[in-house]
Subunit: 757 residues, 2 copies
C-alpha cells in the first residue's frame, strides 16, 4: 500500500455520522406526504393451498379504506431479479391461483390510517383449498412430493454446475478421501430498519417511490415490468437505509402495492413492515444440505473435490440462482483445487423464500469446506494451519475459465493470525473445555455475470466541479449503512486533491443520478463505483490541467498534479493555482458551460465471477461448559486482505459487524418452524447476539494492492461473515471433541455430541 | 409559421393541469418535515428609525422557542441581485443600525409551532429612535430630505441613461411638441401563493431549501454569500409555485432566516408569509413620476423624444436598477425614435421596496408613451391608429447600439385589431359615455445584460434518452405557473419526434439540474431555455442518426429524420427504427454508457437588451357612467406578435391573465398609504378584479417567425400587461373627454376631470 495518499487510507468519520447520531437522519418510515394513505398486506395463513375465492367487498366498504387490491386488479406479470433467465422469474405481485408459503401476499389495503387498514385486512375473506406441503429439501425431492410450481414438477427450479479437471483421476490418486454431509440453517438479516416504502403518483403518468432498498435500479425496472409502465416513468429514491445485508435487493410486493395503489388513488401510499412480518415472512439466508467429498495426497495436498449443495429456496427463486452458483464457487476457492466438480440444486419448499444474505452462498460453502479442512488435518495428523498453507491460493492463481486471482494475501493472513493468537502453542496446550479453532474465507468484490441483464454499464459516476472549490458527485450507488457515501467521497477527494467536506454527494435516485448502478450487494460498490468515480475525476483533472498549462505556458511534457487543493506542474509547484480558480478558468474556456466529468465501470476480461477476491483467516477461542454445553467465545482474531482499506475505521466497523453476524449464525440464531410456520416472530425468540456477547479480538490488515481496485482496494466486510462459524466449530471440537456438521452449534448438540444427552 | 410541426403550435393541456386540478400539487407550505420548526419575522413598526437596542431575552426564554436571531447573530453581509455593481447591494438579511420602512425585517424566531413563534415576536423589545421619513420621490429629492442610506445623501441610488441621435435638432425640427408629466402607482403581484420556504440542514455542512421562488440560482448564490457558505453547499429546490410575476426573484429575508436557523438548530424551519404581510410589506410595481417631451413633424412623424423617469424605489434597490433601464428602453420602443434621450432616477423612499413586476418598467413607460401618442393624434387631428402606423417599427429596424428588431409584427397587429374591433367606424360614431381606445406594447424575450454576473451560460439543458422510448429533460428553468414545464417539453418532443408524455422533466433544483439558469423573469424562459433544449436534442439526434446510418449502411449524404417516434432516412422512410430501439443500439455502441445530450444558450451578438422583441396592439371599449364616473370595460381585443406560439392555449391563458392584471392596474388596484404605512392589508381593501370583472374579447396572433427563438417563438404573456391601461385611459377619454395622466383611473378622477367634483 502506498503511503502517499492524503485522504484514502485515513480513518475519517462517516459523512452521515453526525446526522445519524443526532437522530435527524430520515428513513423511509419518517417520510410524511400530505394526504398519505397507509398500506397493509394480507398474507396467506396456510403453507400451500389453492385460492378458490377472495371476497374484498366488506373491506372495501369500511369507511376510511381507499383501495383494496388482489391479483385480479393487476396485470399478473411475473418478476424476479434473474431477468437474463426469464423462466426463473416465478413471483407475482400478489398470489393468484395458489399460495406457497405462510406469508405469501394475497391482497393489499390502503386506508387513511394503519388501524383501519388492519381492520380491513380482517374483513377480506379468502377461501383456500389446502394442499400438502413440503418443508425441507428432502421432503420436496421425495417421490410423490407436492408440486409447488407446476413448471417444475420435481421441485428443483434450477441447477448450477462448475466442473474442471479430472475428478475421477484426482480421487483415484488420493491418499485420504473424506465424504461428508452437512446441513446449515436459515438466519435473518435482522436489519435494524424494517422495510418501508412510500409511493406517490404525479397525475401525469409517473410514479416516485422512496424505499428502503439496496438496489434502486432493480426496483425501478421490475416495478415498471409488473405495473406495465415504462422504466423511466418510475423514479426510485433510496433515503437513509438502516441495513440490508442482502435482504433488500429485490422488488418487494409492498413496493408494487404502494405504487399500484398510489396510481389508483392519486394519493401517496406508505407501507412499513412490522418486525414480526420481517421475521416470519421475510427473506433469509438459504438453509442447505451440502455433500462434500474431498481427496488429499499423503502430505495433505488437495487432489479432488466434489461439492454438492441442495439449497432450500423456500417458495420462490428469489436470489437463489446466484446463491447456488456462488456456493459452488466458494466451495472451490481459498485453496488450489486441481479437479473440482460442483452441482447446486435450488429446491422449492413451502417456506418463506430464502434470498441473498451477507456472504451470498459463502457462509454455507465455507462452513462445510473449512470444517472439512479441519477434519482432514485431524485425519492426516497435520496442524490445520499447515494444511491450509500447503494448499493456499496465491496471487496469479487461476480458476480455469472462471477467475484469475490478481491479488492474494491469504498465506500472509494465515501466518499473521497464527502469530497474533499464539496458535501453535495454544493448539497444543489448552486444557479440556478450552479450544482454539480456525476458519478462513475468500470473497468477491462484486459480480461479473450480468443476471439482471442490464443494458447499462455496471456503474457510472458524474462529477461536477465548481469554482467555489467544491465538487458534486452523482452516483446511483446505494449506501445502506455500509459507508460507501463516505468511501466514494474519499476516493474522489484523493483523486482531486480535495477534502471529503468539499464533496457534495447525490446518490441512489434513479431519475437524477447517472444510469445506472446495480446496487449494493456482493461487496461491489467500493471497487466498481470507486473505479467509475476515479475515471470521472480523471476527466475533470484533464480539463483543469489544460487551463493551468495554458495559464503558465507550460511545455507539453510537464506532468501535472492535483493535490492539496491546487493544480500545478509537478516539478514546478509554484506554477499552479487553487482548484476553484482552475475551475473558474476552465469555465471561462468553456464559455460558461459547467465542468463535468463522467466515468463508467464494467468488469472486463475478469472471468465469470468477480474482478477481485479478498482473503482472510480467523481464529476463535472458546470455553465450553462440559456440563451444560454452553459455549463462550473468549476471543476472535482476524487477519485479512482487503487490498487498500480506503477507510480503515469503516473496515473495522464492518469486521465487527461480520463477527457479530457470524456469531449469531454459529451459535444462537435460528428460525424455529412448524409445518411451514415460523414460530420465532420477535427478537425475544429469534436471538441475535447482544453487544455484551461480543468477544474481544483484533483484526489486522495484510498489506496488498489489488490492481483492479481503486487505489488498490477490494472487498471488505462481507466475506468475514463466513469464517466465524467454522472457526468456532473447530474450537468447540478442539475443546470437546465434538465436531459440528449441522449449524447452529447449540448446547444440546454439544452435549449430544459428547454423549451426555 | 411552419405548419409542419407535430407538437409545437398545438394547444396541449399543461402537464401539471391534472395534479393541480385534483389538489395534489404540493406547494412549499405543504411540505412537512419531521421535527420542523415554524419561523416568524419581527418587522419594524416605524418607517424610519435608528435601532438603539434589541432585547430578545424574554423571547428566547419562552418554552417552545428554539431560536431567536437578530443582525448581531449574522455576518451582516449586504446582498442584492445586481452583483455586477456591488455598491447596489444595499440590503442586509436583518436590519442592523436602522430600519427604513414599516415592515423592515428586524429579528426572526423559530419555534415548535406558529402560535409560540408569534408570541415570541411580541416578547422582543426593540428601542427605536424615530427619524423623519420621506414617502414620495418629491419628498426624497427635496432639499433637506432625510437621508435614507448614508451612501446616497441625495436619496438617488442610481441613474440610468440612454441617449442617441441629436435631440435638440429633433425638437427644433418639430411641428408639435408635447411635454407632459405623468404619475403611475404601485400595485401588488397578488400571486395566489404567499411566499413560503423550508430549510433543512444535513449536519454535514450543507443546506437544502425549498422555496417559492422564480430564481433558484439567485437564491442559492445569495444565500451562500450572506451565510458565508460555499455556493454549492446550498441546494435550492423550487416546488410548485403559485405565481410570481416578478415578486419572487430575489433572496428574501425569511429564506435567509430559515436557512440560518435550520443550520443553528439542526431542525427544519418553515416560514410562510401571511397575505397581510405580503400586501403591507412585500415587493410591488414601481410607482413613478415620468416626464415625457415628444416632438412630431406636421404629418405625425416622431422627430425627438426626451423621457425622464423618477422611480419611487422604496427603501432598497431591489430590482430597481433593471426597472430603471427597461423603463427607458420601452419609452423608446414601438416606434422609430431618431433622436431619443432617457434619464431614469432610482429614488429611495421610506416605503416597502418596489421590485420587478410583470412588465418590468414597461407598464409605466407605455402608459405614458401610449397616452402621449393618443394625445398627439388628438392634437394633430389624426386617427390614433394612423399615427402609430406611420411611426411603427418594422423587422430589421435598429435601436442604435442597443438592439436590432429581428422580427416585428407590429403594423400587422395594429391593422388586425382595428379590423377586429371595427375601429375606424366606432372611433367616429360612438355616443357620449361610450369610448374606444388603443394601447400598444413591445416586450423583451429575456435580458442580455448580465447584472447577476453569472459565470454560467444563461441557461442549460440536459437530455437523457432511454430505450423505453422516453427521454428525461433536466433544466433549472422554473415554472411558476406560466407553463414552461409544458412548453419546454413540447419543444423537446417536437425536436425528437416524440410526444409530450414521453418526456420526464426535472427542473429547478440547483443541485441536480444543469448549472445554471437565471430563472423566470423578463419572459426569458421559452426563448432561452427553449434554445438550450433544442441544442441538447440535436446532440441526441446526432447519436441516433449514427447508429441508424450504420444499421442500414446509409450513404453519408442521407438526410435523417427524427419524427413520429422513429429515426429514419428522410428519402427512404423504410430505412429506420423506433426511437427507443435506436437508443438501445446507440447504448450498445457506447458499450453501456447512457445517451445524453447537452445544450446551452446565452444571447450573443444581440445587443444590450434582449434577443427578440414581441409586439402587439390592444383596443379597449368602455362605457362610463357620467353621473358616477364608474367605468365598465365592455370589450378588450388584442392582436399580437409572439412569433410562433409553442402552445396557443397557454399563450391565451397568459393573455387573459395579462388583461386581468392590466385591468387592475388601470382601474381598481392601489395601495392606500399613510406615513409609510400600507392600509390596504387584505384583498377586501386591495381590489384585484374578479372573474366577473373580466370583459369579453378576442386575441389574434400575428403570424411571424423569430429567427433567434426556438421554432420561431418569442415572448408571450408579459408584454400584454402594458397596453391595457393606456387603451382604457384612451377609451375613457374618448367617452368623456377626460384624459387620465395619473393612474389608476378611479371614478373620482373621472368626475373631477369632468368638473363634476
Amino acid at each position: 500500500m502506498s503511503t502517499n495518499f492524503s485522504v484514502v487510507g485515513k480513518s475519517l468519520p462517516r459523512s452521515d455520522a453526525r446526522i445519524k447520531a443526532v437522530g435527524a437522519a430520515r428513513y423511509c418510515d419518517d417520510i410524511i406526504r400530505p394526504g398519505m394513505l397507509f398500506g397493509k398486506i394480507l398474507r396467506s395463513p396456510v403453507a400451500h393451498a389453492k385460492i378458490l375465492n377472495i371476497d374484498v367487498s366488506k373491506a372495501k366498504a369500511l369507511p376510511g379504506v381507499k383501495s383494496v387490491i388482489t391479483a385480479d386488479d393487476t396485470l399478473k406479470i411475473r418478476f424476479g431479479n434473474w431477468r437474463l433467465v426469464p423462466e426463473s422469474q416465478d413471483e407475482l405481485p400478489l398470489a393468484t391461483d395458489k399460495v406457497r408459503f405462510i406469508g405469501d401476499e394475497v391482497a393489499a389495503v390502503a386506508a387513511i390510517d394503519k388501524d383501519i387498514a388492519e381492520e380491513a385486512l380482517s374483513l377480506i375473506k379468502v377461501d383456500y383449498e389446502e394442499l400438502p406441503g413440503a418443508f425441507s429439501v428432502d421432503e420436496s425431492m421425495a417421490e410423490g412430493a407436492p408440486v409447488i410450481h407446476e413448471a417444475n414438477p420435481n421441485n428443483i427450479s434450477l441447477q448450477r454446475k462448475i466442473d474442471y479437471g479430472d475428478l475421477d483421476q484426482g480421487f483415484a490418486d488420493s491418499h485420504l478421501i473424506l465424504d461428508n454431509e452437512f446441513t446449515v440453517h436459515a438466519t435473518s438479516h435482522a436489519y435494524m430498519e424494517p422495510c418501508s416504502c412510500v409511493a406517490e403518483y404525479d397525475h401525469d403518468g409517473r410514479l416516485t417511490i422512496w424505499t428502503s432498498t439496496q438496489t434502486p435500479y432493480f426496483v425501478q425496472c421490475l416495478l415498471a415490468q409488473t405495473l406495465g409502465m415504462r422504466e423511466n416513468d418510475i423514479r426510485v429514491i433510496k433515503p437513509f437505509v438502516g441495513g440490508g445485508f442482502g435482504g433488500k435487493m429485490e422488488l418487494r410486493k409492498w413496493e408494487f402495492c404502494a405504487a399500484f395503489m398510489a396510481r389508483e388513488t392519486g394519493r401517496p401510499v406508505k407501507f412499513t413492515l412490522t418486525r414480526s412480518e420481517e421475521l416470519t415472512t421475510g427473506r433469509r439466508r438459504h438453509p442447505m444440505k451440502i455433500r462434500s467429498k474431498i481427496g488429499f495426497s499423503k502430505d495433505g495436498i488437495i487432489l479432488a473435490k466434489e461439492f454438492t449443495a441442495y439449497l432450500d429456496g423456500g417458495a420462490y427463486n428469489s436470489m437463489g440462482p446466484t446463491a447456488a452458483f456462488l456456493c459452488g464457487n466458494f466451495g472451490g476457492m481459498l485453496y488450489r483445487h486441481p479437479n473440482y466438480r460442483y452441482n447446486g440444486y435450488h429446491v422449492y419448499t413451502n417456506k418463506p423464500p430464502a434470498g441473498a444474505m451477507r456472504g451470498f452462498g459463502a457462509p454455507q460453502a465455507l462452513f462445510v469446506a473449512e470444517t472439512q479442512m479441519n477434519m482432514a488435518a485431524q485425519e492426516l495428523g497435520m496442524d490445520p494451519l499447515d494444511i491450509r498453507l500447503k494448499n493456499a491460493m496465491v496471487t496469479g492463481d487461476e480458476i480455469p475459465g472462471v477467475a484469475k486471482i490478481s491479488s492474494c494475501g491469504f498465506k500472509e493472513s494465515l501466518l499473521k493470525v497464527a502469530e497474533m493468537t499464539n496458535w501453535r502453542e495454544k493448539r497444543k496446550n489448552l486444557k479440556k473445555g478450552q479450544g482454539i479453532g480456525i476458519g478462513c474465507y475468500s470473497f468477491i468484490s462484486g459480480g461479473v455475470f450480468n443476471w439482471f441483464n442490464t443494458r447499462y454499464n455496471f456503474t457510472r459516476a458524474e462529477v461536477r466541479a465548481f469554482d467555489d472549490g467544491t465538487v458534486h458527485l452523482l452516483t446511483m450507488a446505494s449506501d445502506i449503512g455500509q459507508g460507501c457515501d463516505t468511501v466514494l467521497r474519499q476516493i474522489l477527494a484523493e483523486e482531486l486533491g480535495l477534502e471529503v467536506k468539499d464533496i457534495r454527494l447525490t446518490a441512489a435516485d434513479t431519475a437524477v443520478t447517472p444510469q445506472a448502478d446495480l446496487g449494493t450487494w456482493g461487496s461491489r460498490v467500493t471497487l466498481m463505483a470507486g473505479n467509475a468515480v476515479r475515471k470521472a475525476a480523471a476527466e475533470i483533472k484533464e480539463q483543469l490541467f489544460k487551463v493551468v498549462s495554458m495559464k503558465f505556458d507550460l511545455n507539453v511534457i510537464h506532468d501535472m498534479a492535483c493535490k492539496d487543493g491546487r493544480i500545478y506542474a509537478k516539478n514546478r509547484p509554484d506554477r499552479g493555482i487553487d482548484f476553484g480558480e482552475a475551475v473558474r478558468l476552465a469555465q471561462r474556456a468553456n464559455r460558461g458551460d459547467p465542468i463535468i466529468g463522467y466515468g463508467s465501470y464494467t468488469p472486463r476480461n475478469k472471468g465469470l465471477v468477480t474482478p477481485a477476491f479478498s482473503f482472510g483467516a480467523q481464529v476463535a477461542e472458546v470455553e465450553v461448559d462440559l456440563e451444560t454445553g454452553a459455549i463462550e467465545v473468549k476471543e476472535m482474531n482476524t487477519a485479512h486482505d482487503c487490498g487498500t482499506p480506503i477507510n480503515p475505521m469503516s473496515v473495522e466497523g464492518q469486521l465487527e459487524g461480520s463477527v457479530h453476524m457470524g456469531l449469531g449464525y454459529a451459535l444462537s440464531e435460528q428460525f424455529i418452524m412448524k409445518g411451514g410456520k415460523t414460530l420465532t416472530s420477535t427478537f425475544l425468540d429469534y436471538k441475535i447476539p447482544c453487544a455484551e456477547d461480543m468477544p474481544p479480538g483484533k483484526s489486522v490488515h495484510i498489506d496488498t494492492y489489488e490492481p483492479e481496485g481503486p487505489f488498490g482496494a477490494k472487498e471488505a466486510g462481507e466475506g468475514l461473515v463466513s469464517p466465524t462459524a467454522p472457526a468456532i466449530a473447530d474450537a468447540v471440537c478442539h475443546a470437546t471433541g465434538y465436531r459440528c456438521m449441522d449449524l447452529p452449534i447449540t448446547p444440546e448438540k454439544v452435549l449430544k455430541g459428547l454423549g451426555k444427552l
